[in-house]
Amino acid sequence: MRTSTILKSVIAAAALGLLAGAADARSVKWARSGDALTLDPHAQNEGPTHNVLHLMYEPLVLRDRTGQLLPTLATSWQIREDDPTIWEFKLRQGVKFHNGSTFNADDVVFSLNRALQPTSDMKGLLTFIDTVSKVDDHTVHIKTKGPNPLVPSYLTNLYMMDKEWAEANNTTTVQDYKEKKDNFAVRNANGTGAYALVSREQDVRTVMKRNDNYWGKGEVPLGITEITYLTIKSDATRVAALLSGEVDFVQDVPVQDIDRLEKTANLRVNVGPENRTIFLGMDVASPELKTSNVKGKNPFADRRVRQAVNMAIDREAIKRVVMRGQSVSAGVIAPPFVNGYSKALDALPKVDIDQAKALLKDAGYPDGFQITLNCPNDRYINDEGICQAVTAMMAKIGVRVNLMAQPKGPHFTLIQKNPPETEFYLLGWGVPTYDSHYIFSFLYHTRSGKDGTWNATRYSNPEVDKKVQSLTGEVDQAKRNATIADIWKTLSEETTYIALHHQALAYAMKNDLDIQVSPENTVHMKFIAAKR
């Protein structure tokens, strides 16, 4: 009798101990509407792709949720005093890749040069680089074309690969995503990150295990032992999966379901602004639009038409109804986080259907015209709903929009193809560098070489290009900001893009997780502690 009581208490204690052991670690099932487009670290400069890559790969410098730069694979960085065009990065010692090989300066030189290849989508971030050279095993010099004070903030999404691994697996060349090419790195990963790839099924699930040799052990919580990243495209299914307990964390919560989830016991909803603006782009330079009934000329080439479109869009209605308040209506495609943003730039155009119609009439389109709008349906919050609302608003000024919504993979290909295969499209742009130059170089600069890779508007203004290029070499912050303001002034008069809103985010999760919204919408799981 007594022994059995003791036995029982021992068992109970053991059970409690097991529970306690489980309390500070757990696995997470994480659902999102779209998957990473590829695992090749330099093939796509796209949010959800970075989100997944950050779990397995690491950059030299990381930007955390609050916007601070954190030493990651580099422990310190500075401009050489003897030469202002050289940035010296000291690398972290004793870091191992998932396959066991050691991280060193050769890997950095290799990775940055790989990211500069023509097929890389990250090349547009690195236009300032002249050469990258190894000084010793743990020191790297980046020589810039001119003095550039912002180099570290351009490196926050530039992942370090293992040179030997890439060579052994014949993957030293970046995947050409828009031409649908493939390589070993697209489906395999070997980084230094806190999580290592276990298995991956594109657009279905990616399983990652905690890296027990992670250099940051003891410095970061690492509360999550295993991550199962699931793609659930349907909004209702994704929310149902969270409500039923099948998943633990939903990163894209449909705005209409925030209320319901907040009221559910055991669930937590965190909201916050994203460093991203949603906007429409137009082909402003082609001689003729393929999807339009207007032949021989391009309606969007006429600034009055662009202004009419701008005036016809009721941003506040989209915010209230489609976004249910989870957005800030925008007049400029720069989010408020960005250097160069100003309230004056962001002033909303007045909704004026009559004036818009008058402008169209002046431009020679009294009866409007026809056009196809390309729209993603699994990338931004309610993206297809926004496009439908735009379609109806365009109809009010006689512009008959044929809406073509599809998943982000094919949608982004339309934009990135050369020449682009879209003439009117929805896009969202996040700014990881927190600086206007990133917007100018990708979205406004003439498409050529490393620049303008996401500029499907065919907009080309040599004067703007020259000013944008001058930004990288300008050390005087005041002078640089003046140039930025000057560029924005020219661009907002052009109305090349039509800003819709700055997007806000909502994350929903089980109560024991507390994942805060990051302005880049990138969840760094290593910072998450699980508490029950």
Binding site: D235, A236, D257, K290, E384, G385, K396, A405
Partner: protein
């Protein structure tokens, strides 16, 4: 030769239904009323009136068909007219609920479209696609079935093996496949306008097998009967024999399959639209409406999915009941 043919034709049992031959000479009212009376007194009508359920199903089907095809006349709003939409009217609950609006009896969807009007137009699209695809499947299945059954040999083997292979795939999978291939071939910018016909072809091609198998079976039996042999003897071409002599005998079972398939075709269209490969949200069918409404189920906007869902269920049920009844009524073994 002429004489021979004459004798032979007299020996044939009437290939076509009796009524058609009489139709031409009958002109007087008395006889016409007699025909109507005869029809009203037929087994078909009796069996129809005997079952209340079937009468209800028929009335329901007629109502839905009528409402759908009169949609442009009776719908309070035109959901295809984007100019008339106002985003500010979106997500309005049905008129009798709190926050409802008398202009929108069954509420509005997420773009401010009137649910009732959209449903009428959507049902019309669903029915049009359903009927067109059934006609396509029927034409294709009937022709191939007749040919296979009549010609036999290698033709029969090839056609029926293709049919067998297709039978191993669920119809929805075949439809998805055809839809995807058509979209890829037609490229995206031209696809939207031709979406209707893509759906018709996709659904039509996935349902022809049943017709072909049934028709082939009946044809195999009929082609060895005396009247066919006689027809062949007097030199009537195979084409004429198939369509004029054998076809009328297989129409009964084909009609039954067609009715039941109509319900299936409507559901398949709804499924394709629900999966996002059917009609676009700017020209919604019932399936598209259910897909859109499904997104708002958790947020309490039940009306967006409930009304189109209910309509689809009722329509499919009613047509199915009619088909079932027709099958029983036309089956001599069950009489």
């Amino acid at each position: 030769m002429n004489d021979q043919a004459h004798v032979a034709e007299r020996m044939l049992p009437a290939p076509a239904p009796q009524g058609r031959q009489e139709a031409a000479p009958v002109t007087t009212q008395g006889v016409r009323r007699g025909r109507l009376a005869a029809f009203l007194d037929s087994d078909l009508v009796h069996s129809f009136l005997r079952s209340k359920l079937v009468v209800v199903a028929a009335v329901l089907t007629a109502l839905i068909f009528g409402a759908a095809f009169l949609a442009p006349l009776i719908a309070p709003h035109n959901p295809y007219d984007l100019k008339s939409l106002s985003l500010l009217d979106a997500n309005t609950p049905p008129a009798w609920e709190k926050g409802g609006d008398a202009r929108y009896l069954l509420g509005t969807d997420d773009q401010g479209r009137d649910i009732l009007s959209t449903m009428l137009f959507g049902t019309r699209s669903s029915l049009q696609i359903g009927i067109c695809s059934v006609l396509l499947a029927l034409t294709l299945g009937l022709s191939l079935g007749l040919w296979a059954g009549y010609a036999g040999g290698r033709v029969d083997t090839v056609i029926m093996r293709v049919a067998d292979v297709q039978l191993t795939f669920p119809a929805i999978l075949t439809a998805l496949l055809i839809d995807g291939v058509a979209l890829a071939i037609l490229k995206h910018h031209t696809a939207e306008g031709s979406k209707f016909w893509i759906l018709v072809v996709a659904i039509g091609l996935s349902f022809w097998v049943q017709y072909a198998r049934t028709v082939r079976g009946v044809t195999l039996v009929e082609r060895n009967k005396e009247y066919v042999e006689a027809a062949r003897l007097i030199g009537i071409g195979p084409f004429k024999i198939m369509f004029q002599h054998i076809l009328p005998n297989v129409m009964g079972p084909v009609l039954v399959i067609a009715t039941i398939n109509l319900a299936l075709a409507i559901i398949t269209e709804a499924t394709l639209s629900f999966l996002g490969v059917g009609l676009p949200p700017t020209e919604p069918s019932l399936g598209t409406m259910i897909q859109v409404g499904n997104r708002y189920l958790f947020s309490g906007s039940w009306w967006m999915v409930a009304f189109p869902g209910l309509t689809l269920a009722l329509l499919a049920l009613a047509v199915n009941l009619l088909g079932d009844w027709l099958r029983d009524a036309l089956n001599p073994k069950l009489r």
